[in-house]
């Protein structure tokens, strides 16, 4: 699976594509199957929005036990916030999804393959 991410121009915040809009939570991100041409199409639309976002790119996700997570550690940190300040970044918001994220995070460390977000 794939998701589309970028940083917002005005404040640099990490955002994700959802149905033509940019949303702040990975939990809300639109997901595509690896071979779905809609992903590349969305990437093209995103890249055309040069006064809204910068550094638009697709990220790879992996699925396991009903959870979805970015494949790379870097992308997981972008989706959560810095690990040295648990109250900074997106993780600070709290709530069930973030708790799930943080819980999964510990397991993420050495494997690089984690299930951060429950889908469905």
């Amino acid at each position: 699976m794939k998701a589309l991410t970028a940083n917002r121009l005005t404040d640099g915040d990490v955002v994700f594509w959802k149905d033509g809009q940019w949303v702040e939570r990975f939990a809300d991100a639109q997901l595509w199957a690896d071979d779905d041409p809609a992903a590349v199409e969305a990437e093209g639309h995103g890249k055309a929005q040069g006064t809204t976002v910068i550094d638009v790119y697709l990220i790879d996700l992996i699925e396991s036990e009903g959870f979805w997570a970015p494949l790379s550690y870097r992308e997981r940190i972008r989706a959560l916030g810095p690990t040295n300040h648990p109250h900074h970044g997106k993780q600070a918001e709290g709530g069930a999804v973030v708790e799930a994220l943080q819980h999964a995070h510990g397991a993420a460390r050495s494997t690089g393959r984690v299930n951060l977000i429950k889908r469905k």
Binding site: N7, L9, T10, D11, G12, D13, V14, G50, T51, I54, D55, L71, S72, Y73, R74, I77, R78, G81, P82, T83, N84, H85, H88, G89, R109, S110, T111, G112, R113
Partner: protein
């Protein structure tokens, strides 16, 4: 502190006005990101993982309390209430909004601060001895020359699109606290037998992908010829440094490729042609020297009874004094180091409240003088021994009286993958885990001087090559691994560390350091530092202990 005059202030005003216009053109869509990126980078504004990062220059690591308070205020107003002091002695804010950046630069300019040349392929902030003006070791005050270099390098028309970034270090003491031999140019002030001032000129040191200890290309450059000689070096580099490969573009590669002798010949030939027209006249050097606020010292006994009594009744103060106080050139004074390496904290981070506490203490007890060290700590260079107990109490109340300067928990770490877009692995949590292992201050003191330096990628912002123990984060198929090196030094006995063995996974690193320290304690002979023991025994006993489990 160097006092800005009208020229210096108008230079900043012109810069902030220019940048405000550039940001407006970007937000309106007139500039594309490609066009804008190089402009924001000229103002130290990077895009990191979670937000923009603004790198504020702290020229040669020197701050006054007003500036420190402004940094605290900016941290509170525009960031999350803190800032991060770097190995370039700059201050980074990690949660900046692009739309706020012009206002922040305006606020900085009100206290004579800026972000000029804190990124880009230009001459960056100069590192200077944080004990400048306070240590008896120095032959002159290196800040005078650092300020001269700051002015010369600011908007230098010929050297603003170099092959790669360019970093100076300058010290006037034989004990090197600037890592001069791993800078693009390291300058060591010396006095000749006849009293004349001059510089030993070291060129082509560096870390990163291809680390080098820089060779000396001139033993003694007359001090008043500094600018023309630097111009000659930079011109040879600008013309001949590689531009085809970013990883081979630093001056160290040019020096190594040409050989020290040929590089030196080219510099000397260019210097002879340049002549002295770009050198600063003695009157300007005298003006710069005079523009530094004069420090006034009282005549005091070398021993403070007040301080001795306070130490006797307060073991925590005594421990702080053992580790964080350094000898001052004047009797009855001390240099006080403030550790930003609290156990479990992020190395180099200071909260706005902590910055304000340091500003207050500097104002009350420290002649308005604050320094930033390349080891990510702060210094109050001029404190009366009589006042040390009060300074300690203030630091203690602010949570920054950690008594661990130069000890195993005084760890350098870059921001790493927690923030940095270039990083491959995290550095901060590794530092935290190691520090936790040495939470017991008696044990840390027993271990003695041990410099651990951690980088989250090969660019080596965490100076891992010159750590007594160096730790480099690498990515192996999405997992964080760490390569350890031993025996590096960034001081006057500069050396590059050598590899310990195969990379270790994240959760094994702190244990491995623990093991290395145990081996050292077992092997060490009288008075040896970790580094000395390693140099005597070589890597074998350390390697055997760390990888014993693997067999």
């Amino acid at each position: 502190m160097y006092q800005y005059d009208t020229v210096d202030r108008q230079m900043l005003a012109d810069r902030t006005a220019e940048f405000r216009g550039q940001v407006a053109r970007r937000l309106s869509g007139e500039l594309t990101e490609d066009q804008f990126k190089r402009l924001r980078l000229m103002n130290g504004l990077y895009l990191q993982l979670h937000a923009y990062m603004l790198r504020v220059a702290v020229p040669y690591g020197s701050l006054n309390p007003t500036q420190m308070r402004k940094l605290a205020w900016i941290g509170r107003t525009y960031d999350k209430g803190y800032g991060h002091f770097t190995t370039r002695t700059n201050l980074q804010f990690h949660w900046i909004r692009l739309k706020d950046a012009p206002d922040i630069l305006d606020h900085l300019a009100t206290v004579d601060m800026h972000a000029i040349q804190t990124s880009g392929n230009c001459i960056r902030n100069v590192t200077a001895d944080p004990y400048a003006g306070a240590t008896a070791e120095e032959v002159d005050d290196p800040r005078v020359w650092a300020e001269a270099l700051r002015q010369w390098s600011t908007f230098h028309p010929e050297f603003s699109l170099l092959p790669r970034k360019f970093k100076f270090a300058i010290t006037a003491a034989p004990k090197d606290r600037t890592a001069a031999r791993v800078h693009d140019i390291g300058l060591v002030l010396r006095r000749a037998r006849d009293g004349a001032l001059g510089f030993e000129v070291i060129v082509g040191g560096g870390m990163g992908r291809t680390p080098y200890i820089g060779p000396t290309i001139r033993e003694f450059l007359p001090a008043n010829r500094l600018m023309s000689y630097m111009e000659a070096i930079l011109r040879v580099y600008n013309r001949h440094g590689r531009r085809d490969n970013n990883y081979k573009a630093r001056i160290k590669i040019l020096v190594a490729a040409l050989g020290t002798e040929e590089f030196t010949r080219q510099v000397e030939a260019e210097w002879a042609k340049i002549g002295d027209s770009v050198d600063l006249p003695d009157t300007e050097l005298a003006r710069i020297r005079g523009a530094f606020t004069r420090t006034g010292f009282e005549t005091l006994p070398a021993r403070s009874e007040v301080f001795e009594a306070a130490k006797a009744s307060n073991p925590a103060l005594a421990r702080f004094a053992r580790n964080n106080l350094k000898p001052h050139k004047k009797p009855g004074y001390a240099i006080v180091e403030i550790s930003l390496k609290g156990i479990g904290e992020t190395p180099g981070d200071a909260t706005s409240e902590q910055m304000e506490a340091v500003a207050d203490l500097a104002e009350r007890y420290g002649q308005d003088d604050i320094r930033v060290t390349h080891e990510q700590n702060l210094v109050l260079p001029h404190v009366k021994l009589d006042d040390v107990a009060a300074v300690w109490a203030g630091l203690h109340a602010a949570g920054i009286a950690t008594p661990n300067i130069n000890l195993v928990s005084d760890i350098i770490a870059c921001p790493g993958l927690d923030y940095c877009a270039l990083a491959n692995a995290r550095a901060i949590p590794i530092a935290q885990h190691i520090a936790e292992k040495f939470r017991d201050p008696d044990r840390a003191e027993k271990v003695g001087e041990l410099k651990i330096k951690i980088s989250g990628c090969i660019n080596a912002c965490g100076h891992h090559h010159v750590g007594h123990i160096g730790i480099l984060g690498v990515d192996k198929k999405g997992e964080e691994f760490y390569q350890l090196t031993l025996g590096g030094s960034g001081a006057e006995d500069a050396a590059l560390g050598s590899s310990l063995g195969p990379a270790l996974p994240y959760e094994k690193v702190a244990d491995a350091v623990d093991t290395l320290v145990d081996v050292y304690l077992r092997e060490r002979q009288d008075g040896e530092r970790f580094l000395d023991t390693f140099r005597r025994t070589g890597v074998t006993p350390f390697k055997e202990a760390v990888y014993a489990d693997a067999h």
